[in-house]
Structure formats: C-alpha cells, structure tokens
C-alpha cells in the first residue's frame, strides 16, 4: 500500500511546528524483513505502513504478533533502535474476508503488543475513521493504485502524523494550557453580563470538554483573565453546564494585572519555563502584548464560539501524547498543594520546621519495572532538575532497569498531597565503578530537599554494591541550572570522577536531619 499519497501532505503539517520531513520509502515488501533491516540507519522514525487486508488469512492476533515479534527481533540483543510506528486498520472497508470483527480484534492485539514494546506506537487509523470522515475508504483509489483511502482520509492521516504523532516523538512538549475567560470559555463579558448572564453554547462546552481531556492526558490547566476573582468563583459555582470547575485549574490569575506578567508568574509558580505554556485568548491585542512581554509563550487566538478553539486544541502540535500520562490525576492537586506549602514555608520559623511540618514520606523503588513508562516520561519532559539530560528512550529505560544497573524511582507524598513518582536516579555499574546516567526530578517536587535525600541514599546503596568511584556525566542545557547547582554543592570542582566515600560523606552530612520517612522497595 503506497505511503507516498500520505507523505505528500505530511510536510505542510510539520511546518506548523517549524519542522521539515524527509521521507524515504522502501520497496514494496509484505514480509517487512527488508524494511526493518533498512530501519537501522539514521532515521528518526520508522513507519510500518501495512495493508492488513493482505494478511486476512491469519487470525488477527497472529497477524499482530507477527509484526510485533519482527520489530522486537529487528532491534536485536542491544535493545536499541529508532521508534517504530505501526498502523492498525479502519473498519468498514468492505473487503471480502476482512470483517469488522477481524479488524477490531487486530486493533486490540496491536494495542496490547505496542503497549508492551518500548518506543513502538500505534497509528490508530480506526480512531481517525471514527473522528470525522465517514467516507474513509475510496474503492476507486484502491482499484487505480491499491490505495484504499479517500483523499479526505489521506489528509486526516497526514495531519495526525505531521501535527500530532511526530511532534510528540521529537519535540519538547507543552505542559500548560492557559485560557482567558470572556469570549473564550463562554460568550459575553463577565463583568458586565454577570455570572448568570454570560452564554454557554455547544462550542464552548466542546472547548471545555477538550480542556478536560487535555488535563486527563497530563497537561496542566491555568486561568489567566482580567476579571474580579469573586465573579469568577460565582461563575464556576453557578453555571452547571460548565464542564470545567475552578478546581481543574492548577494556577489561577484573575486580576487586573497584565497578562504577560501573569503568565510569567504562572510559569514561576509551576516551576516551568514560559515556553511550556500555550495561552488561548480571543483578543488579538492581548495576544500581541503577551508576544511582546512573554515572547516564549505559545499563542492561540480563540474563536468566540468555542468550536474553532476546541478544534485547534485537538490538533495543535505539542498537545498530543503517545501514551497515557501515568501521573496526570495527581498533578493538578499536587500543584495546588504547592501554594499551601508556600504559605507553610512563610509561616515556619526556619526551613527545618517547615520540612518537619510537611510529614514527608519518600518511597525508593529499586529497579522497579512497573515504573518504566513514568521514568521515560520524566526523562523526556523534565528540564530544570535534569542533571545528565540523557532523554532516555523507552528501550534505554528498560535496559537501565535490568540486571547490573541501579535505577531508583522515587515517589513522594506529604500531609498535603501525594506527588507520585517524581524523581529518578539511574546508574550503570561496572565492578567498582558506577556511572550516573540520569538524575532528574519533577519541578513540582523541588524545594523539599528530596533530591538530596534520594542522592544520599543512592550513594549508600552503590557502596553496598561494592562501588568505590562514581562517574558523573552532568550536561549543561538551556534550563537545567537547578540540577547543576545541586551537584556543585557536593562536587564544587566539577570533577567527572569522584571517590564514592567522599561524596557519601558530603551528601550524608547534608541530609542527616531531614525529617522524611524513607521506605525502600526492592
């Protein structure tokens, strides 16, 4: 099945995020063996574009297993390789022998297989078919070029690849969607129409549902509006047709301050770089002010009916996640708790009293394979406290969780919230030497010295394992100063190799009075 008709359209969607694509198409090879051999070059992504109708003689589970096994085997013993995309098949094609139940079973088997294979993701054609194009198939195109999809479906597939899947694979992701209120989440001006007078149409409800989906996918929602706070609280309390509640927003700036300043303040509150924020506002003049005052914030002009905004957010590059976010349910609550922590910190007599009052529990998980997905996620989205900037692939995470290595995933909770798994320390061990491959922590967990507690414990564990020397490959990046400053506390001279005993002593001294309860899980 030719991919060229899709790739013709992928480029324009890539330009939405200032990227370009060079597509190299293999010879027609239904066995896939040659394609996978070819995929060991310099490609960023390998797509197995499969006409599943050709494999209808097999049971669907067998067909899916055949491809998954080929991908796994193609990567060989090293476990390394480029990310692989595999398409499923849409229902309703009408090919003899390819029933909808066969297609559904194939899709389920591919979902299962790709979920368990690192860096392997499904291009869900069946989901795209359901989204908006009933005429997904075109028998005429199939007759002419063995290409079964309609032109509209082709553009839809290209958009999904170029504006959703590929940016999710290769670009740093947005983390926050900040929205205005008036003429964005509803029609009307809250200050003039009042909480009961603003109008909520189907488009606004669709937009609010889209924002909730983004929150469930792991994005942080923020509110940035020039209004009276009391009006906004009444609005969310009174309007039962709102899909969103005020509690869905991890950061709220409702005042008469400037929007650029408020967006920068949201970034500071969330410990994020402003470039992690996408701001949605109906007023071009406000967007222009943000472009000048907070130029790193990404901007979207809202459609006052809400419908267009919902459509933009459903396809905006950087707002797509390849896998479900493992900690999305915890994130908003934890970020809201950070504001309470700030109040506690301000009221405490000294830092020790503040930490003691938090009642922290730190869970240290040693080589815990169930955390692989979360470790991969943290490695690829953490920018500030990220010492080595290793940007681990799922395959590298799997290797680091294997024998001969020490990888700690660190979960944190305190009296105010459960933060989930927030930090990772990964070491390769070779005899008496250990190499720090990755040390990172979610920005929302900073400020409680948990990084020092985990580091100190890890050094002790390395010592127990017979290590005497630690190699540290810290890398300076555009935003990871907090991690570099942390390391400087213990390695002020910037040495790449440090005797473990010396480091242990320094780190231990630093955390000896830390009040957290530490629980180890092996």
């Amino acid at each position: 099945m030719p991919f060229e008709l899709v790739s013709d359209f992928v480029g324009p969607f890539m330009r939405l995020w200032d990227a370009e694509i060079a597509v190299s198409v293999s010879d027609y090879d239904p066995s896939l063996a040659g394609v996978l051999r070819r995929g060991r070059g310099e490609e960023d992504v390998l797509l197995l574009w499969i006409d599943w109708r050709l494999h209808r003689a097999m049971a669907p589970e067998q067909a899916a297993r055949w491809v998954i096994d080929l991908v796994a085997a193609g990567r060989g013993a090293s476990g390394n390789g480029v990310p692989v995309l595999i398409n499923d098949w849409p229902q309703g094609g009408g090919t003899a022998g390819v029933t909808d139940s066969w297609v559904a079973a194939l899709g389920a088997a591919l979902e299962e297989g790709t979920r368990n294979l690192a860096d392997c993701h499904l291009v869900r054609l069946e989901r795209l078919r359901k989204e908006e194009y009933p005429a997904f198939f075109d028998p005429r195109n199939d007759e002419v070029a063995h290409y079964p999809f309609s032109q509209a479906a082709t553009v839809h597939i290209a958009r999904h690849l170029g504006a959703q899947m590929l940016p999710a694979l290769v670009m740093p992701r947005l983390k926050v969607v900040a929205v205005d209120l008036d003429h964005t989440l509803y029609e009307g001006v809250l200050g003039e129409d009042g909480p009961g007078g603003v109008r909520v149409g189907p488009g606004h409800q669709a937009l609010q549902r889209r924002l909730l989906l983004l929150k469930e996918a792991g994005f942080i929602l923020a509110l940035c509006s020039r209004n009276e706070r009391v009006d906004v609280e009444r609005l969310f309390a009174q309007r039962k047709e709102f899909a969103l509640s005020l509690a869905d927003f991890a950061a709220v700036r409702v005042d008469w301050g400037s929007k650029p300043d408020n967006l920068l303040s949201i970034a500071a509150q969330l410990n994020l770089h402003p470039s992690a924020i996408l701001f949605v506002d109906d007023n071009p003049a406000e967007l222009a002010r943000v472009a000048e005052g907070a130029p790193e914030v990404e901007l979207v002009l809202a459609d006052p009916s809400g419908e267009g905004t919902a459509a933009i957010l459903s396809r905006h590059p950087g707002l797509f996640r390849l896998r479900a976010d493992a900690s999305s349910a915890l994130r908003t609550q934890d970020l809201q708790a950070n504001q309470q922590r700030e109040r506690l910190r301000a009221a405490a007599a000294d830092p020790a009293e503040y930490l003691a009052r938090l009642g922290m529990v730190v869970d240290l998980f040693e080589n815990h394979a169930e955390h692989a997905s979360r470790i991969h996620e943290l490695s690829n989205k953490t920018n500030q406290f990220n010492l080595c900037l290793a940007r681990l692939t799922e395959q590298e995470v799997a290797r680091l969780l294997g024998p001969g290595n020490l990888t700690l995933s660190i979960a944190l909770r305190d009296a105010l919230s459960d933060s989930g798994v927030v930090a990772v320390l990964a070491f390769e061990i070779s005899g008496r030497r250990a190499r720090l491959v990755e040390f990172l922590m979610s920005c929302r967990a900073l400020g409680r010295e948990v990084e020092a507690v985990a580091f100190s414990w890890a050094l002790g564990r390395l010592s127990d394992l017979g290590c005497e020397l630690l190699e540290i490959q810290a890398r300076e990046g555009p935003r990871n100063q907090p991690a570099l400053e942390f390391l400087h506390r213990f390695v002020p001279n910037g040495e790449r190799e440090v005797p473990l005993a010396r480091l242990r002593e320094a780190a231990g001294r630093d955390v000896q009075r830390h009040p957290a309860e530490i629980r180890v899980h092996r």
Binding site: P2, L5, P139, R140, N141, E143, V144, Y147, Q151
Partner: protein, 75 residues
C-alpha cells in the same frame, strides 16, 4: 489560464517535467506516470476542477486531452 493549461500544470508538477499545453502529452511519454502518480494526477485534477470521476473514467485517462474532455464535460 485555459483548462488545458491548468491540466498541463498539474501533469508537469506531478511528473516533474515541463509540459507544453499546446502539445499532446500521453502516459507513454513519461516513465514515471505509474499507477501511484496516475492517482495523484486524478486527485489533483478533481480538486482543481471540483469534480469527482467515476472509476471507469479514471482508468480510461491516457493523456492530457482525456482530462481536458472530462473538464469540459463537467464545466
């Protein structure tokens, strides 16, 4: 721009060769007028002229003049 010139421009862009609208241009003249590019030509033609061709019409297209006739029919 006449219909014929618009069709010549489509063929030229997809096949990557200069095509003179005043001359006939047939499938046999282009090595790369294969089934994939045939479909590309048809899809671009349909978009340009806002039409939808039947399967038998698509298969019957052999040259620039065939497409011109289809464009005139739907005008």
């Amino acid at each position: 721009m006449t219909s014929r010139e618009r069709i010549a421009a489509i063929l030229s862009e997809i096949l990557g060769v200069p095509i003179d609208a005043a001359q006939e241009y047939a499938r046999e003249q282009a090595e790369n007028w294969d089934s994939l590019n045939h479909l590309r030509i048809v899809l671009a033609f349909e978009e340009e002229f806002g039409v939808s061709l039947q399967p038998e019409e698509v298969v019957a297209v052999r040259c620039l003049s065939d497409l011109e006739r289809l464009a005139q029919r739907t005008a």
